[in-house]
């Protein structure tokens, strides 16, 4: 019989315990992994394959050739980016002051205002979009109001164009921008703001040099949500765009419903996916650039 060194066997036992623990935690995430795999990855792979098939089911590159050489595609990409960027800019302009006001309000009041902010999220986007249609059309409430106070003689074209689409999208995305921004602002140690003031900084200076940098994480999350979410927007441009606004999502739908061309639609879908990935990569890259010195936002 060989003698076993008790210290060695104890170390082996400890290592086995560690392995078991790791396996246990992996098993906890298994259901989610299966769900993502089945419901997201598989369909994407299927669409990717479709983009290389002809209508008869043989492999071809023609879908991609036509897509990338078509003017319409580039216009759709431009329209998509234009809408997302416009929505993001307006969300920042409207959302930052709102988030700042909420964050500096007493907690109780802020909680109530947050409920108001989120109220629209409980309404169907379809209902809200048609609501904007009622408000913004030529004889809508907004135009009537503007005319009655004499700001304009002829009704403004507020809907069935880029403006209308933008209004609808900003309305939808604003809460999603404000929430992470507000959370980041709330987390700022109030004393850093006081310290800045005590050292002689005016309020705008403190805002730029202390508050916004410290809330950068939240603002970035909000921007990411807004930009990436809006890249795939369909309902709002479909209803409020009136055929004038044709981002990729609209082109996909038209390719399918008008031409029943699964190959071309799939290629467009993959293109949109790549666009989203690119945007995400850019935003993450910007973040790394900003925190070059590292460790600040850990």
């Amino acid at each position: 019989m060989t003698r076993i060194d008790p210290a060695v066997s104890a170390t082996a036992d400890l290592r086995r315990d560690l392995r078991r623990e790791t396996a246990f935690f992996l098993s906890l995430s298994l259901p989610a992994l299966v769900l993502v795999g089945l419901c997201a990855m598989l369909p994407i792979l299927w669409i990717l394959r479709q983009s290389f098939l002809t209508l008869r089911g043989t492999y071809t590159l023609s879908n991609w050739e036509k897509l990338l050489s078509s003017d319409l595609t580039w216009r759709a990409i431009w329209s998509t980016v234009e809408l997302s960027a416009g929505t993001l800019v307006l969300c920042c302009i409207l959302g930052l002051p709102l988030a700042l006001a909420l964050a500096s309000a007493p907690q109780k009041l802020a909680n109530r205002l947050l409920v108001l902010l989120m109220l629209p999220l409980w309404t169907s986007i379809l209902v809200r979009t048609y609501g904007w249609l009622v408000l913004l059309r030529r004889d809508g409430l907004v135009n009537q109001g503007l005319q009655s106070i004499g700001l304009t003689d002829t009704p403004l074209a507020l809907v069935y164009n880029f403006t209308g689409t933008l209004i609808g999208m900003v309305h939808f995305m604003l809460p999603l921008f404000v929430l992470p921004t507000y959370a980041a602002l709330r987390d700022i140690d109030h004393n850093t703001i006081r310290a800045s003031a005590s050292m002689g900084a005016s309020l705008p200076r403190t805002l730029v040099s202390v508050v916004l940098p410290l809330a950068a994480g939240g603002i970035r999350s909000g921007s990411m949500i807004v930009f990436i979410y809006t890249l795939g927007f369909f309902i709002t441009p479909a209803i409020l765009g009136g055929g004038q606004v044709n981002p990729i999502a609209i082109r996909i739908e038209r390719t399918l419903s008008t031409f029943q061309n699964w190959g071309a639609a799939s290629a467009l879908g993959i293109l949109l996916l790549l666009l989203v990935a690119l945007a995400a990569a850019l935003l993450v890259g910007v973040r790394h650039l900003l925190s070059r010195r590292g460790g600040h936002h850990a």
Binding site: D189, N191, T192, A195, S198, M199, G200, A201, V210
Partner: protein, 346 residues
């Protein structure tokens, strides 16, 4: 730069029913190190925040130098503040933190850098200038906060329990360091703490606060040896407040004079001959006795039920080794250490 005096006149601040500052008046001398000492809720931090301009008083006046700053915005007051949690900017390096107030004052970049480095050298952090705040220990952050507050030579320095997050040894070390910094720079300093030993160690004068009022303002020795009220006596160290009816004079006769006296734990003797001709005796039963290194600590239960603390130095243990809980003993105190307390309304 000549240090400035601060005058506070009948300053009042209420939060609903709660009176945080109850018509506080106070004159702080130029270059003085004044400590506001009191338990939480005594109004010391409210007073400091009013000086800084972050709390708007309901009434009263604050004058720094000859300038009424009562309604002046915090960033116009030219004050330096060191906060309890340091309030450093986590998105800036150590040097950028210290340069920040200079940048706001539009000091040229080169000069700002030199002055920031000089301030960091002063707090012995020169080698850490390019570190991130997150990479510093609590004590180092404290020093960065100090450097940031002194680098622009403010006219007034306010400190809000700046050492309370540090461990005991470091805290005691920093007390001397902050005091030395004050002596070097000569800036009028208002320091808030709830630690009486810290207040005694550092201050020129101590203002003991409770319930939104200054109970007594005096030099440390004065406050310690001649507290004007039971509250001040109790807050400054282990003071025993005794009813005269529980005590006898050293010659055995009943006590004369006022109703209440204060005797500090360390001023009791078990040996009658250690006291002069005048003084006080106190009989009771030992409830607990413990050896604590530099002293013996005895809880003495009086006939009235009150427990009195005695602290007997171990170098003259006066027979403490043989004492056991339950024994009856008599403690004595010299008249010099028996302090008569004024009657209080409370």
């Amino acid at each position: 730069m000549t240090p400035l005096p601060i005058t506070i006149e009948t300053l009042r601040k209420t939060y609903g029913e709660f009176t945080a500052l109850d018509d506080v008046s106070l004159r702080i001398l130029p270059g003085e190190f004044l400590t506001l000492l009191g338990p939480s809720g005594s109004g010391k931090t409210t007073l400091l925040m009013a000086l800084a301009g972050f709390t708007r008083p309901d009434s009263g006046r604050i004058v720094i130098g000859d300038r009424d700053v009562t309604r002046l915005a915090p960033n116009k007051r030219d004050i330096g503040i060191v906060f309890q949690n340091y309030a450093l900017f986590p998105h800036m390096s150590v040097r950028e933190n210290v340069e920040y107030p200079l940048k706001i004052r539009k000091v040229p970049r080169r000069e700002a850098r030199d002055r920031a480095m000089a301030a960091l050298e002063r707090v012995k952090l020169g080698a850490f200038a390019d570190r991130d705040i997150a990479a510093l220990s609590g004590g180092q952050r404290q020093r960065v906060a100090l450097a940031r507050a002194i680098v622009y030579e403010p006219r007034i320095m306010l400190m809000d329990e700046p050492l309370s997050a540090l461990d005991k040894n470091l805290r005691e070390h920093m007390q001397f360091e902050i005091r030395r910094l004050h002596d070097d720079l000569g800036i009028t300093t208002v320091y808030v703490t709830h630690d009486q030993r810290e207040a005694l160690t550092m201050s020129d004068r101590i203002a003991v606060m409770s319930a939104g009022r200054i109970q007594q303002i005096d030099a440390p020795q004065e406050i310690y040896h001649r507290p004007r009220s039971a509250f001040v006596a109790g807050f400054m160290g282990e003071a025993n407040i005794l009813a005269a009816t529980d005590c006898r004079a050293l010659d055995g006769r009943p006590m004369q004079g006022p109703h209440r006296v204060m005797v500090r734990a360390e001023n009791f003797h078990l040996d009658r001959s250690a006291c002069g001709p005048e003084g006080l005796s106190l009989g009771g039963r030992i409830a607990a006795i413990a050896f604590r290194g530099e002293n013996w600590l005895i809880h003495l239960a009086l006939a009235s039920g009150q427990e009195v603390m005695l602290s007997i130095p171990s170098r003259q243990s006066e027979g403490c080794e043989s004492l056991k809980p339950g024994q009856d003993i008599t403690a004595h105190a010299d008249a010099n250490h028996v302090h008569f307390l004024a009657e209080e309304a409370a």
